[in-house]
């Protein structure tokens, strides 16, 4: 099974739209939405939920005021300054358990926050895994790992050849969890000053984890000079720009209507997306699907 991760550096570049198009063109793929902080792919693919469960990944300390003797040992030990006035500020607590371990009065216990939910569902193009974070859940990297693990296991079990991962923005913990071990990263970038900056950081991150990258320039006509600059920089890095998709109102419209791009796109947009699909499949070493090659 091959794993394709779609990344964008920062959001708003059309990553989810492109991911949805690739899923749709693949015809049959396992899908993981690893953008757990802003999961949007399910809004387009509208999976029917088949299974869900609650996941607890982080813990928070809590002090029982009845038992606390105000000795201050916990305050001193906590490196995250999460204990003020002998109360735990939940959002700062990293759940290391040191305070609970050290408290001589046994006043500190660890609590699990409201559960994060993991969903599995059926879309017309294959099965999908996604999550909804609990409010205050900070361990998003761990949730990403879980979503990926579920998708990988299901893909292997059901004989999928392709897993499409909609990655997280940024370069930190959740994106590392979505990118490591993937066979190919497709970067969706837009030609703006900040877009170029973010793309380079994302490319460096993929290279750091030895994941080969391709670039899809989206809205490539909104700033022609920046688009040229991105192409030059990609060329000097030996990264292929496999698609240049202009700003097309029909794609924006599809996103607004919450439809997948190929439900709406015709002509130019559809042709460009099919071409992108073929190139990506070729690079990842899978045959382009019938759906993808039919014109």
């Amino acid at each position: 099974m091959k794993q394709l991760v779609v990344l964008s550096g920062k959001g708003g570049t059309g990553k989810t739209t492109v991911a949805a198009a690739l899923v749709e063109l693949a015809g049959r793929a396992m899908i993981a939405d690893c953008d757990v902080e802003a999961p949007n792919l399910h809004l387009l693919l509208k999976p029917e939920i088949t299974k869900s469960y609650t996941l607890n990944v982080s813990r928070k300390a809590s002090i029982d005021p009845e038992r606390c003797t105000r000795c201050g040992d916990c305050v001193e030990a906590c490196r995250f300054e999460a204990i003020r006035e002998f109360r735990v500020e939940r959002h700062a607590c990293e759940g290391c358990v040191l305070c609970a371990r050290l408290c001589p009065a046994g006043a500190i216990s660890m609590e699990e926050p409201e559960g994060t939910e993991v969903f599995m569902g059926e879309t017309p193009y294959g099965e999908m895994v996604w999550a909804r974070l609990a409010v205050g859940e900070e361990a998003s990297g761990k949730v990403v790992s879980r979503v990926r693990m579920e998708a990988q296991a299901a893909a292997v079990e059901k004989g999928y050849q392709l897993l499409v991962i909609d990655g997280s923005p940024g370069i930190g913990c959740p994106v590392i969890a979505s990118v490591t071990g993937a066979d190919l990263a497709l970067m969706v970038a837009e030609p703006t000053l900040s877009g170029r900056h973010d793309l380079l950081r994302a490319l460096e991150t993929a290279a750091f984890f030895r994941i080969p990258s391709l670039v899809c320039l989206n809205k490539c006509d909104i700033n022609v000079e920046e688009a040229e600059r991105i192409k030059e920089e990609c060329a000097s890095l030996g990264v292929e720009v496999v698609a240049e998709i202009p700003y097309l109102e029909e794609l924006a419209e599809a996103a607004r209507l919450c439809m997948t791009p190929l439900e709406v796109a015709e002509g130019e947009a559809a042709r460009l997306l099919r071409r992108l699909h073929e190139k990506v499949m070729e690079r990842i070493g899978l045959p382009a699907s019938q759906k993808g090659t039919l014109h």
């Binding site: 959001g11 802003a38 700062a92 040191l98 974070l133 205050g136 700033n223």
Partner: protein, 294 residues
């Protein structure tokens, strides 16, 4: 006062709002600090071209085990909540990238076999943005930059927040999403601006951001960027949910083009200066009333 800018997702225009608000306020002569807390992809500097005057490394202290002192009692391994330590054969292995640097292992080790060693995870740079087109005051500027391949952004955000200035208007530009680094950015702010866009995605992510600020109990209001007539249902949704819409920035090719070239709305299109100032005035009474929810 501290104004945080958050968005639930990326690409909605957080940077645009943070940078333009800073420029508008500085143009009035106010003391402004802009702190870019999106340490994974900091962009504010691209729009402000600050003169960087200081740069410091941010380090985390991770454990190193002295094999001569360690008797493999496993106390550290069993304690570590993040599985950053593991017993492998006849030695304890340390996985730096899992360590949160809580210091528990070194504190609890009965044989003093754990030493803490600083490892770099990124840096904090600070400088000055010279007064813009409208004169007024310089903006003091800071941003953090996470090293490539390094998962933990939050400690850098924490370090950045040490730069918050007492008498100044501090504008904290947060990263996308509502995960750890963003929570850390927004925590303790006097006001949070939630930037969104009129699509189903925007609404979905606004909901998550809203849950976050409500959980943290921070007064907040919404900025709708790429505004189209009717607001894609966002106006109604905000009204129904009791969230004030403070500013609407129309979807215009001209604005997108300015942004793509790193140019700023308040400097290029003068009426925006007044609009950002008006938005600020809507926020300030909340502060005066002692942080009552907007």
């Amino acid at each position: 006062m501290v104004i945080a800018v958050a968005s639930g997702k990326g690409g909605t225009g957080k940077t645009l709002v943070a940078v333009n608000l800073a420029l508008a306020l500085a143009g009035e002569g106010l003391e402004v600090r802009l702190i870019d807390c999106d340490v994974e992809e900091p962009n504010d500097h691209l729009f402000l071209q600050p003169e960087i005057r200081s740069s410091e490394r941010v380090e985390l202290t991770v454990p190193r085990i002295d094999p001569d002192k360690c008797d493999l009692c496993r106390i550290c391994v069993d304690f570590c909540a993040y599985n950053a330590l593991a017993l492998a054969g006849d030695r304890i292995m340390v996985f730096d990238e899992l360590c949160h640097a809580c210091g528990g292992c070194s504190l609890l080790c009965p044989r003093e076999a754990v030493r803490e060693e600083p490892v770099p995870i990124g840096r904090v740079e600070c400088g000055l943005v010279k007064a813009g087109k409208y004169g007024g005051a310089d903006i003091s500027f800071c941003h953090g930059i996470l090293d490539i391949g390094e998962p933990k952004a939050t400690p850098i955000v924490r370090r950045l927040k040490e730069r918050i200035g007492e008498g100044a208007v501090n504008i904290l530009d947060g990263g996308p999403g509502s995960g750890c680094p963003v929570m850390e950015t927004v925590r303790g702010a006097d006001y949070c601006l939630l930037v969104t866009e009129p699509t189903q995605f925007g609404l979905h992510d606004l909901r998550m951001a809203l849950e976050m600020v409500r959980e943290l109990d921070i007064p907040h209001g919404v900025v709708i960027n790429k505004y189209i007539l009717g607001g894609g249902g966002l106006d109604t949704w905000c009204a129904e949910n009791g969230v004030p819409v403070l500013l609407r920035i129309a979807y215009k090719r001209e604005y997108a083009s300015l942004y793509s070239r790193g140019l700023n709305l308040v400097e290029e299109v003068p009426e925006w200066r007044e609009r950002f100032l008006r938005m600020f005035r809507k926020i300030v009474p909340n502060k005066v009333e002692g942080g009552a929810r907007a």
